[in-house]
Symmetry: D2
Subunit: 341 residues, 4 copies
């Protein structure tokens, strides 16, 4: 059955597999001290325009969020996030397991707003009893958000300005960063992300890798003894080379950007097709995730012919479903979908 279920339903880009293969039998030091991690980090530094960036390769998104947050927060601090943010809603309490509260802000199609963030922090410090509360120790946002939406450059600058005023680090979860950067309407570049955030990660798992995320401290400042922090969270791969080789391939000849652009290209065609067929959008987005509002019978019928994600039940008769394109989506996939819509 054709699948638009998510952006991690197939393996990896052939160039990534090839890099794993061609480096497979060369002995390398363990734990990320290998040449492949070193090479990959250099290429990422060049791509983000930050020669002093410190970079650590980790395995998955939840792990990366957990380690970045635990590594940067003091014990009495929490992380501010949209109530729909991945760390707030879909990590099974990974952040709380490390002892930190996720403090929530309203979600605007997945985004937080600078003014609401500032108001929250002002209210916090204005409260005489704030030492009985969890301190804001980090601002978390995802770009694209969990709803496929994007921050504009202006929006991110406004949030970064609040963070700067209160000296709160700004962290960007880039699980799908490539799809955001290649989106047609965006005015936010990778260099902007690196300039405005204190730490962010470039997602591999959902953008063409088998697994792996690159955690970036663009101006340095990786927490001291970060290897111990990573190890303590079970995130230190003996064969760090597996992550290094993948990111080395993804950041050679702009592969990461090209395959991200493919997902956007296919998403634009998908949106066009859905509009032509008269589908109602619950949320039409500029990235690779599209949300449709279907009546239940239609949703059930369609589910027999194409794989997609059930998202939510807005009322008793309707269902919101998500269709995803990815780095791997082909025109053939779209043609097959056109047959069944």
């Amino acid at each position: 059955m054709i699948s638009f279920e998510n952006d991690y339903n197939v393996g990896t880009h052939p160039a990534v597999l090839r890099r794993l293969e061609e480096t497979n039998l060369a002995p390398q030091p363990g734990y990320g001290e290998d040449d492949l991690c070193r090479l990959a980090a250099e290429k990422i530094r060049a791509a983000i325009g930050c020669p002093a960036a410190e970079i650590r390769f980790l395995v998955g998104g939840t792990q990366t969020n957990q380690i970045a947050i635990a590594g940067l927060l003091k014990s009495y601090e929490g992380v501010l996030a949209a109530e729909t943010g991945h760390v707030a809603a879909h990590e099974a309490g990974a952040i709380e397991h490390s002892g930190h509260k996720v403090l929530t802000l309203p979600s605007h199609e997945g985004r937080i707003e600078a003014a609401e963030l500032r108001a929250w922090i002002e209210r916090f410090y204005g409260d005489a009893a704030h030492e009985h509360m969890v301190f804001p120790g980090m601002v978390y946002l995802s770009h694209p958000t969990e709803y496929g939406t994007l921050y504009s450059l202006g929006q991110l600058e406004a949030i970064a300005a609040v963070c700067w005023d209160y000296r709160i680090p700004l962290y960007l979860d880039g699980a799908r960063l490539g799809y955001g950067l290649m989106s047609r309407g965006t005015d936010l570049t990778l260099e902007d992300v690196a300039r405005l955030c204190d730490v962010f990660y470039i997602g591999g798992t959902k953008v063409g890798a088998l697994c792996g995320e690159a955690l970036v401290f663009p101006r340095g400042g990786m927490p001291e003894h970060f290897t111990a922090v990573v190890k303590q969270h079970g995130g230190l791969l003996a064969k760090g080379r597996v992550l290094g080789a993948q990111f080395d391939a993804l950041f050679t000849n702009r592969l990461y950007f090209e395959i991200s652009a493919n997902a956007i290209d296919k998403a634009e065609k998908l949106k066009k097709l859905l509009h032509e067929r008269g589908y109602a959008f619950f949320l039409e987005t500029p990235t690779n995730q599209q949300f449709l509002l279907l009546d239940d019978a239609r949703a059930a019928a369609l589910a027999k012919r194409v794989r997609f994600s059930f998202w939510e039940k807005p009322d008793a008769e309707h269902t919101v479903v998500r269709l995803c394109t990815s780095w791997a989506t082909t025109d053939e996939d779209l043609a097959a979908l056109a047959e069944v819509l």
Copy 2:
């Protein structure tokens, strides 16, 4: 200066001090194995009508919440509470420090609603991805709430019914339980609380003790090796007798209820006085906490003559303040207040 600041601004009822004194030099075993804890527990069992109840005396409210929750939840479970609940807002992340998320429900003047609770749980189990989320492992409510409001018998029964349907333990934070039970309009008795909750605590700190809360498992079921859990959280007093003696005094000759009734009596007089003087209530409650809406100048002037708590700023020109009565409030205090209002 006269003080209506809170219900823990003076020491303890003289009968409690007397009990500490008269038992002071008799050798007793440590760690809550003493005769005083045993006696106090027996009197509480009688008061709640639960001969099989298991009871543990702890030092303070946050500690009691933390230990009760950590003792009952599995690692992947969180506790459902009103977003204004003490565990959600004012414990500096004590629950998260033990690894558990506080899952929030809307607050209705401090209360949660059974229908919203049921809807939350149904949505949780209806979500195909719920194993990526924090499981609901307990329902927390405070009675009186942080806003001085109360659950009716019907409301508590409805919440307990939801908990029962999903086999989720119901926990009641009774930091000010006495004031709720002695409230004039309430139809909820201590026996009801014991019948409907799986675990609750009878607050001492805010109802006449120097310190101490009695954590009650009305039908038994105290977690195995609970002493170790308490010790692990730093909550095991070497001289448990200090807590036992206090609760022994409080549950002798219904002292706990009588001094709670005094706070209600004084609160009723306070409300009458405030109405007579034309004060606007932000929230008028049936218990010992009253919330006034003052313009800022009035609030500032009043603050020079009486101690109260600043609660919040609803807008640029007004302030919400809280005035509390307690077990210790006297008619002289009210007369002195009448002078300055």
Copy 3:
């Protein structure tokens, strides 16, 4: 039955009760911001000769250790302690519950040795894989130790020198500090403790208080937002005055030292009595705890007439028992004991 079971088997010194009584009904701010805590802290600053000391009153020993350690360590750090240290052996995993490993050193009648400490740290930093291990973030020692033994000034200076060389904070658990300071042979003063340690606590629970320990940062440096850390661990008393009043009484007119001296005086008489009666010591100590080696029949017979603590079974026929004096032991207690020995 007469009791030499432990040093927390009776309540509190009458002067402490009196101070609670005479301050009982004066309104005071909550959470340790009261006049009594302020007064007590001033008196302690004078007693230790450190005008810049920062002091926080907490409820019990395990709680104090847990909070001091969690407040000072980074997430990847552990605390070095004797394998018999309270934090290592008898706190039900309170330190690990806060995420920190207790790293153990050999115990020499309860003490650690400076040379072994230095060797441990050198081996740690000499190991190429030390980022895969728990970093030494604090040195913990108890004085008196769990075996009633004491550090000499020279021993403590040597340990402090190692800590200084590696910039590792030195923490002293003074649950029974008074008994150590009043010991007849000691050359270690309270001023020495304050000079050599980065943080320590003056125990109240076992030296005449109902409950309470004074955590002291002799040269300041209390962790930022320490109130939040204390709250997060469930250690913040609403009526902090209860602790303040007790330490105020204990540090008025050198009461703490006088009642500690009583325990030593009675311990010296106890040792003399035991020697006269031909008892074999397992460990004879300069403080208030004495350890006897009894054959099992003798231990069982004695247990019918006097309360003491069973300590351990060194072999199949013998039992080690502990007899404690305390601030409250009287000559009548000793006379009664002489009858049954």
Copy 4:
């Protein structure tokens, strides 16, 4: 330079890479619900002779230990391990980070002994104050141990008997399990491991995979909602297929056993070579790790021509080094080593 540094210095067996390649573009469900994980689990069930086994694929060894332990222990329980066990010494506090103490037993060339285990548990339960201590909630052992040594069938049966008597789960860390099973002298089979342990893992990372460990509950009993536990620890791979494909390849046509046997074959040749050349063994083992005692000059000279691991400094003039063979070691590697020895 030739490398005998460790058993994870090259990538993966070509058959594993091939399996990743040939399954690469087939859409599969995420999070371990894919056909490859299903197939791999079936093959492992067959290999261990336990049709009811429940199996979960995780990424690395520390992560697997952390999740298995956290998933099975109650909050007040710890894990008993040799003081040299990986969880005790080399996981940067990952176990403590999850709130659990590692309780240590003496190491006998890496092994624990049944009699010492039983004595520890008896002493624990015999101590009247054991509720002030960390309960033994699991017994951990590694096979092969961190020193390359092995348990005999009789030794493992004796340990399992103690565990059974006290109903404490027995957990075996099989990071290098293949090398243990293929060792020439061993009388312990994979079926024995599955029969005697409650949970164990079959290591992939050090035995031919890129990454991945198979956590096995041979008679079922995987903790409820284990996916949530895994997710909470950051261990849930979106593309679980990556692990499934690797273990599918490793357990097809006994590949796992054959490549393990290669490491043993090469280790036997290595030992012979070392003996011929007159090298002194610090520890000669029946598996793929060999420990030599070299004088420092010799160690330094050798380090210029072959990569190995520095292990420890037994005295001022000598160094213990480790040489490892692995699934990938070739006769050419040994010939090259022979040149430089």
